[in-house]
């Protein structure tokens, strides 16, 4: 905690930052997904019912069995639902108005949360096609996809 400062009202206040720089090991399945991002490839995992789950999970959501067969999907996809952010906050991926959206990548049976840079809420609609905008120097984390953007014909 920083030094307390007295405010105009006579109350003592201080700026306080609570920060944990977690480093987490990702295991073979998420590890394959993140490694794929460094090669601009989007990988999912095949569940027991045949669906491809993206991002991948280590266990089948129905049976709990271990799964690990990686399948490449995308890169294009479809917005299944979205919410417009008019005033982005400091930690948001874009510094201009954008949408948080669930994107079902081509070939995937589940949708992934990411940002869509469409310019305005009027340009957003459920069912719209989007494609990833990649970071210049991938690092192997979800931010290698800067955002998704509308796919133009």
């Amino acid at each position: 905690m920083n030094r307390m400062a007295e405010t105009a009202s006579g109350r003592l206040t201080a700026a306080h930052v609570l920060e944990y720089p977690y480093r987490r090991s990702v295991g073979p399945v998420m590890g394959a997904f993140f490694t794929g991002l460094t090669e601009r490839r989007l990988l999912g995992v095949r569940a027991r019912d045949g669906r491809v789950l993206v991002p991948p999970v280590e266990y089948d959501p129905e049976s709990g069995e271990s799964i690990g067969e990686m399948i490449e999907v995308g890169p294009g996809g479809v917005v299944t639902t979205w919410a417009w952010v008019e005033k982005p906050r400091a930690k948001h991926p874009l510094d201009r108005p954008f949408a948080w959206a669930l994107v079902r990548l081509d070939g995937a049976g589940s949708a992934m949360l990411h940002a869509v840079d469409a310019g305005s809420a009027a340009a957003m609609r459920t069912g719209m096609r989007v494609r990833p905008r990649w970071k210049a120097e991938p690092e192997g984390n979800i931010h290698d996809i800067v955002c998704f953007e509308p796919e133009r014909a």
Binding site: M1, R3, M4, E6, R11, L12, T13, A14, A15, H16, V17, L18, E19, Y20, P21, Y22, R23, R24, S25, V26, G31, F34, T35, L37, T38, E39, K91, P138, G140, N141
Partner: protein, 161 residues
């Protein structure tokens, strides 16, 4: 690029901490080189630093109590892992110090003492910052150091571990 085996996922929360009445009294005391606590009117426990209420009885602690900087180490550990949070270079000794007249030990640094000499029951005193550097912060007490007194008997602090 090689296989990704781990990722960094930082978590950060930015707060503006506002001291309540009790903490404010305590901190202003620190700026004067005084240690102020509060006594519970029901169970008579003295809380240093005060939080404004007794967590056991659920009543406001209205009576202010001043205690001295002398106390007893109830428990301790020697830290050998560096941390960005504490400005002290390791190794150093952290302890719970139960100030005389207080019923709640608090976290403190022990210095001017060999690591293998620190022990439960050891008598210590606060070393204050120079007068010009006293401020409304816990850091006005720089650390605690041993004093030449016999160890406190275990019975006197066993309820405070």
């Amino acid at each position: 690029m090689s296989e990704i085996t781990n990722i960094v996922t930082p978590i950060r929360l930015d707060y503006t901490y506002t001291a309540g009445h009790a903490t404010q009294r305590f901190l202003l005391g620190m700026a004067e080189g005084r240690i102020l606590g509060q006594r519970c009117p029901e169970c008579a426990k003295v809380y240093v630093p005060p939080r404004g209420a007794c967590p056991k009885c659920g009543v406001p602690t209205t009576d202010e109590v001043e205690v001295t900087g002398k106390g007893t180490v109830t428990t301790f550990c020697i830290v050998r892992i560096p941390s960005d949070v504490l400005s002290v270079p390791p190794p150093f000794t952290c302890a719970h110090v139960l100030l005389d007249g207080a019923d709640l030990p608090f976290f403190a640094l022990i210095q001017e003492c060999d690591f293998d000499a620190v022990r439960m029951g050891m008598r210590v005193e606060a070393v204050w910052a120079p007068k010009a550097e006293l401020a409304a912060t816990f850091e006005s007490i720089r650390y605690f150091r041993p004093i030449d007194e016999p160890d406190a008997p275990y019975e006197t602090y066993k309820e405070h571990l």
